[in-house]
């Protein structure tokens, strides 16, 4: 065979194989991009039921959170049309809604009962009063602590502790000889990892990212107080190498009984009381702390929500799926098959009015934490932005990742807190100037 014919054959073969569409017998197929977490995977398991009821087939594209974010952002900004439903969060929804990149969810059926969505979630997933994404599950952050260690230390965790009490409790529970750290917190770089945690910690010390003229505020004493408190607390009672610990690392430590306290996402409650936890029977919950005299607490607000990109050819089918997956009946379906502790939390008011769900140990504290979070008024002093652990502007993700890298370097002892704050101030002001905010 000549070189030319070989080339032609190979090209033809690649085109033939490329055209392989996976045919099925359904009336329509929708493609959903989503994250890999317990609730989403559980939903995938029930998809056959949706298909049986509606005749609509579902194709899943499951990706790691950061990959998903990059993938769906590329697709929606170029109108790529690869997905009919995208799983996005509270950060993306108002920005994309403002750009008309999402289909407004303002015509959902009466049975869906959109008013049942928790107000905090509905506000966070709306732009200009219009809902653009339906929450599949929502979360805030709270204190998870070892009741047995607290008891042994002779302390009692208040429902709404202060940072000063948290430090006292960490000191009392810290037991290096038995590999127990007084407290475990996120320190890992990344705007959604350690960046989220230190931002809400800042809020609870009266700090803010920007003043009303979009000037960075890292040179203010509140930020120095917050960061110094965090670094001292973790250096004294935190685990080794906490600068690289994120959600999973702390979950692993807590489940192995190596943390007296852990302040993190409320969704972790079902993990620390689940089968893989060695301390499942001795976990208590409390609201995220605040500094004495500061009204704002260190609790964030987040939802993984389903949104429809504008331009999809399957808008009606996509809406049908969203109504099914985020509706009341889905919650009942999961509860019937897997128990109330495993239903997607934090999205609907009616869930928290269900007597069976009220029996779940972390249910009330999750609701209280969500209700304590106000994305439109996140800080003590006024700010020009919406968002608690983030600032809902497109520039935030890149800028906050850089800032959190500087903070992580301070946690690791590679620079001082003052140096990290000075760099954060410079990075933030530079980005805001380049973007034309100031």
């Amino acid at each position: 065979m000549s070189l030319k014919s070989t080339l032609c054959a190979a090209t033809a073969l690649s085109l033939i194989t490329a055209s392989g569409a996976f045919a099925d017998g359904h009336s329509a197929t929708i493609t959903i991009a989503t994250v890999n977490n317990g609730d989403m995977i559980r939903m995938q398991g029930y998809t056959d039921q949706f298909t049986a009821e509606t005749g609509i087939a579902v194709e899943w594209v499951t990706l790691e959170e950061n990959v998903l974010r990059q993938r769906v952002t590329t697709d929606i900004t170029t109108n790529g049309g690869q997905f009919d439903i995208m799983t996005i969060g509270m950060y993306e929804t108002p920005i994309w809604g403002a750009n008309d990149w999402l289909v407004p969810l303002n015509d959902l059926s009466a049975e869906y009962d959109v008013d049942d969505i928790l107000p905090a979630m509905r506000n966070g997933l709306s732009y200009d009063g219009t809902l653009y994404a339906a929450p599949f599950y929502g979360e805030s952050s709270m204190v998870m602590y070892r009741t047995d260690l607290m008891e042994a230390a002779g302390l009692e965790m208040p429902d709404a502790p202060t940072w000063q009490f948290i430090r006292e409790a960490a000191a009392a529970m810290d037991d290096p000889a038995n590999e127990i750290n007084g407290i475990c917190l996120r320190g890992k770089a990344g705007w959604g990892e350690g960046g989220a945690f230190i931002t809400v910690t800042g809020n609870s010390f009266g700090a803010r990212w920007f003043d009303e003229e979009w000037n960075a505020q890292f040179d203010q004493p509140e930020w120095a107080d917050a960061l110094n408190f965090y670094v001292n607390l973790m250096n004294d009672y935190g685990p080794e190498g906490y600068a690289t610990n994120g959600f999973n690392e702390n979950l692993s430590l807590f489940n192995q009984g190596k943390c007296g306290m852990w302040i993190d996402a409320t969704v972790a409650a079902s993990f620390v009381t689940g089968d893989d936890s060695t301390v499942a029977d001795s976990v208590g919950f409390a609201l995220a702390p605040n500094a004495e005299g500061v009204e704002k607490r260190a609790n964030w607000l987040w939802a993984w929500a389903l949104a429809i990109p504008a331009g999809t050819q399957q808008e009606a089918e996509a809406k049908q799926f969203i109504e099914w997956a985020t509706g009341k009946e889905y919650i009942e379906l999961v509860a019937a098959n897997e128990g109330w502790a495993n239903v997607p939390p934090g999205a609907r008011t009616s869930l928290y009015e269900t007597p069976e769900y009220q029996e779940v140990p972390f249910a009330q504290m999750t609701l209280d934490s969500i209700n304590a979070a106000d994305p439109t008024n996140p800080t003590v002093d006024p700010v020009p932005y919406v968002g608690i652990q983030f600032v809902a502007i497109p520039e935030f993700a890149g800028m906050a990742t850089e800032v959190s890298q500087e903070f992580s370097a301070a946690y690791a002892g590679q620079q001082t807190v003052e140096e990290a704050l000075a760099k954060a101030q410079a990075i933030t002001n530079e980005v805001m100037e380049a973007a034309g905010y100031r």
């Binding site: 190979a10 490329a18 995977i41 049309g81």
Partner: protein, 276 residues
């Protein structure tokens, strides 16, 4: 005359070689071992090396949740065709540079290599827009072309290096005997460069198999290869390391087996011309 090696020295060399080999292989071994643990054992501290309850549960869950065969088939097609297409284009290019070089050959080679220095994300949007325009998103044909193009500089460079080791006089002799260019390439050059071509093919197949940026960003359902299969088990909120390890083991197993059976050819190719 060959230098004599004392048994003690030989033992030392062997031990060092094994230690380095095991050190390099350890992450893969750890991944394989973790895939047989429960999620709780996977995160145990101190880590459990062998004394755990071996289970196939993670593989069962992964097989149940994902259509492994479809991902595998896509990987084979994309990696295989991009490598073959790359070689078809690179062999004549490398031949011309090795045997009929011009004043600018070195510059062209360096320019080709310089395309590898651009971070892939820098051209994501242009490529994505071109793919939308051509209807190539989530298609194997699109990925075959992209992977072929990004690996082409490496293929040309490798083949150029191998071809340079072949004496030009042999090709001249073939021409004097009346061989055409096609015959010279197929019957003279290719057989002599088989070890080099084989190792180039293998190395590029591995590179294309492992490529994760473009394969994740340009696919959704139909053309997603094993890199997307692994990515679907990675989670920042939840401990699924054992399942992720099972998915990783299933993704690397075919290429590991291929590498194992062709290691002789690979080593021969990579050391081709090293000792004259």
């Amino acid at each position: 005359m060959a230098r004599s090696v004392t048994p003690r020295r030989k033992l030392l060399n062997t031990t060092i070689a094994w230690a380095i080999g095991l050190l390099i292989f350890f992450p893969i071994l750890w991944t394989i071992l973790t895939s047989f643990k429960s999620e709780a054992q996977a995160i145990a501290s101190p880590p459990i090396f062998l004394g755990f309850d071996w289970t196939l549960e993670n593989y069962r869950v992964v097989m149940e949740r994902s259509d492994y065969a479809r991902f595998l088939w896509n990987s084979i097609i994309i990696a295989g065709l991009s490598t073959v297409l790359g070689c078809i284009i690179a062999i004549p290019a490398a031949w011309s540079m090795a045997f009929v070089p011009s004043r600018r050959t070195k510059d062209i080679l360096l320019w080709m290599l310089s395309t590898k220095m651009l971070p892939a994300v820098g051209v994501l949007y242009p490529i994505y827009l071109i793919f939308i325009e051509l209807g190539l998103l989530d298609s194997r044909a699109g990925l075959v072309v992209v992977l072929m193009l990004i690996n082409l500089p490496i293929i040309v460079w490798m083949l150029y290096t191998y071809f340079k080791e072949i004496p030009g006089e042999i090709l001249e002799a073939a021409r004097m005997d009346g061989a055409t260019l096609r015959q010279e390439l197929i019957y003279v050059l290719t057989p002599m460069a088989i070890p080099g071509i084989a190792s180039t093919l293998l190395l590029n197949f591995i590179l294309a198999w492992n490529e994760a940026f473009w394969t994740l960003n340009l696919t959704a359902v139909n053309a997603a290869p094993l890199t997307a299969f692994i990515a679907s088990y990675s989670s920042p909120e939840g401990l699924f390391f054992a399942k992720l390890s099972a998915a990783s083991t299933m993704a690397i197993a075919p290429i590991l087996i291929l590498g194992w059976f062709s290691q002789k050819q690979l080593v021969r190719g990579l050391t081709f011309g090293a000792v004259k």
